[in-house]
């Protein structure tokens, strides 16, 4: 009886999370694609639901809601389900859909999917060797073996994303960094783009015309058969075909140029939109927020110790909300950029995997920011992992990622205005 009503109070939000994940999948990620395999949508929503439940459990822990035994029970339950999903279900389906895309392996899809999964498990297990994440007293089949490895992967991902985000977020929102783009800059680039397309068209017309004439005169290369044909084509190639290959090379170069111009124009348009956005009320709000956030990030980069546990806890709350939102936005952008109707299933599952590992590691790392009295439940549930290792590992990767991002963005920022000045 004691376990019934708390279970209900967990089920309702979990159903809500599942529903949210489902809708997000349908309305955002897959809005231009056809869902042919509902299992993908289900797996994504389940991963999302159980990941969010973990955050919910932390909050319950801090608020002291429900009895500690029921909280402990739900922690364990949630953890087992999430590990099951992240280590068995999602990797297996990723392997299955990747194999489905390869024509050669179509016949024995299931067999090859199992092969892929076993390979994954092998490397997953090997991951434990170089890192000092376990104490020797843990048995080989304990849950700590699994969590520790998931933790390493997840923490690395988190640190990479946070490092990049810490640098990119102020760069994107703060108007100080926005390059000045005028309408005439964009028009000039568009003009160049269309001129290039026109050149391509006229050269292709010439190629088509020449080919037609060659065909009508019987000079077509495909008609040169037999030994005489080969000798003739080697000793005295018809002048037209030499001309043709030259023009074709010019066309190839122009096409490459047109692609570059297109991408540059898109970049300028995006910058112009960001400038316009920064003039709106929302834009100004985010600009100010950007300044505060960048100060916080700089602070973090230099690893200043928090002088109040409870301020850090409020930050935990903010971090949870913004990181879920930030993660979803980043995942969506990434998905739009690289997916196609063939690979969409695989990519969504990979995103689900990243999302799950990200959330599990968030719990691991959050332990550091939580006030002492609440750390015990996390320690109890996750077993005796070497938490310090994870914190140090996060800081190292975060620093590396942030510094590389600064370098990368500095180079990109420097290069861009010069490109346009040569116009």
């Amino acid at each position: 009886e004691e376990c019934l009503s708390p279970t209900c109070s967990f089920c309702t939000p979990q159903v809500l999370f599942f529903g949210f994940g489902w809708l997000f999948f349908m309305r955002q990620l897959f809005k231009d694609y056809e869902v042919r395999h509902y299992i993908v949508q289900v797996v994504f929503s389940v991963t999302f639901a159980f990941s969010c439940t973990m955050f919910e459990l932390i909050i319950f822990e801090i608020l002291g809601a429900l009895s500690s035994t029921s909280r402990y029970f739900h922690w364990k339950l949630n953890l087992y389900v999430i590990l099951l999903v992240l280590i068995f279900v999602v990797p297996f389906y990723i392997g299955y859909f990747v194999v489905s895309n390869i024509r050669l392996l179509q016949r024995q899809k299931l067999l090859f999917a199992c092969v892929v999964w076993f390979t994954f498990m092998y490397f997953f297990w090997k991951l434990g060797d170089p890192f000092p994440i376990l104490s020797p007293k843990h048995g080989i089949l304990s849950i700590e073996q699994l969590i520790s490895r998931v933790g390493v992967i997840g923490v690395t991902l988190m640190a990479l994303l946070s490092g990049f985000g810490a640098v990119n977020c102020p760069y994107t929102y703060m108007s100080y960094f926005l390059r000045n783009v005028t309408d005439s800059d964009i028009l000039a680039l568009e003009r160049r783009l269309l001129q290039t397309m026109d050149m391509i068209v006229s050269k292709k017309k010439r190629i088509a015309m020449t080919r037609r004439q060659m065909y009508q005169r019987g000079e077509d290369q495909s008609k040169q058969t037999g030994i005489w044909g080969m000798i003739r084509s080697v000793t005295s190639p018809p002048p037209n075909s030499e001309n043709l290959s030259l023009i074709q090379q010019e066309v190839d170069a122009l096409e490459e140029l047109s692609r570059q111009l297109f991408l540059e124009t898109v970049d300028l348009q995006a910058t112009k939109e960001r400038i316009e956005y920064s003039k709106t009320f929302q834009g100004k709000y985010f600009n100010v927020l950007g300044y505060f956030f960048s100060i916080y990030c700089v602070w973090k980069i230099f690893m200043v110790k928090f002088w109040s546990q409870h301020i850090s806890f409020i930050l935990v709350g903010i971090i949870i909300v913004t990181s879920i939102r930030g993660l979803l936005i980043t995942l969506t952008k990434f998905f739009y950029a690289i997916s196609s109707s063939k690979s969409s299933n695989v990519i969504v599952l990979v995103l689900a995997q990243i999302m799950g590992m990200y959330f599990v590691s968030s719990v691991l790392l959050m332990r550091m920011s939580m006030p002492l009295e609440y750390r015990t439940i996390v320690t109890e549930v996750l077993g005796e992992l070497q938490f310090n290792f994870y914190h140090r590992w996060f800081d190292v990767i975060f620093l590396v990622s942030a510094l590389s991002s600064i370098l990368f963005l500095y180079l990109a920022h420097k290069q861009a205005p010069e490109k346009h000045m040569t116009m």
């Binding site: 694609y33 568009e190 397309m197 292709k204 898109v266 995006a270 112009k272």
Partner: protein
């Protein structure tokens, strides 16, 4: 070649439906061996004999502009893409017969392209809603091509063909269903080849033999057009 002798046909559709393969088939009469992502726009030229087999036969070069991307692209990509939609003489809408969404997205594609058309007679209402009457009055000839015909399972074939027939009625366009990796669908004399030929003939007729506003530069995009009369050889 005088710059006024240009016939431009857009090829639109979701990414992955096979526009590049289709354009290659239409222009080179060959199957495209290694399709890859189209960045921006790729153009090819088709040699078309207008009124083939009659005394009025004349050769025209039709430009097929294959615009890459998806309807869900970022607005910066859409604004850049719009550059390619100026002074269009015909549109080929391509969809994947095994993917319903790609067929539904054709409404959005056609609106995106036709809204940008600078014809001062105001072809399509710009509030973004589909309006059948407006498509009926649309002076730009449309052709609908469904790809991956060979990949439809036998039992679903009728449903798919019924659905696409309705779709082509909505657009007031002819439809052709084929497989871009097999040239026999467009073999000379086949009904598909006849429809294709008729479409291009219609495009040429509208371009040269009727007084059409889209022959002249539009008012809104005049800034972009001042350089278009320069021709490079």
């Amino acid at each position: 070649m005088a710059s006024l002798d240009r016939i431009k046909v857009l090829v639109l559709g979701d990414s992955g439906v096979g526009k590049s393969s289709l354009v290659h088939l239409l222009c080179q009469n060959q199957v495209l061996g290694n399709p890859s992502w189209t960045v921006g726009c790729s153009v090819d030229v088709r040699v078309h004999d207008y009124k083939e087999g009659t005394p009025e036969e004349k050769t025209f070069y039709i430009e097929l502009w294959d615009v890459g991307g998806s309807v869900g692209s970022a607005s910066s990509v859409k604004s850049t893409r719009a550059v390619f939609y100026s002074s269009v003489n015909g549109i080929i809408l391509v969809h994947d017969l095994t993917n319903k969404k790609s067929s539904q997205n054709l409404y959005r594609w056609s609106l995106e392209a036709l809204n940008k058309d600078s014809s001062p007679t105001g072809v399509i209402v710009t509030n973004g809603d589909y309006d059948r009457e407006k498509f009926a009055e649309n002076p730009v000839p449309l052709l609908m091509i469904g790809t991956k015909f060979d990949q439809i399972p036998e039992n679903k074939r009728n449903d798919v063909l019924t659905r696409t027939a309705f779709l082509s009625e909505d657009f007031n366009a002819e439809e052709i269903n084929l497989d871009c990796t097999n040239p026999r669908y467009l073999a000379a004399g086949s009904s598909n080849a006849v429809k294709l030929s008729r479409f291009f003939d219609k495009v040429i007729e509208k371009r040269y033999f009727t007084k059409e506003p889209n022959q002249m530069t539009g008012f809104t995009d005049r800034k972009r057009f001042n350089f278009k009369n320069l021709h490079y050889d």
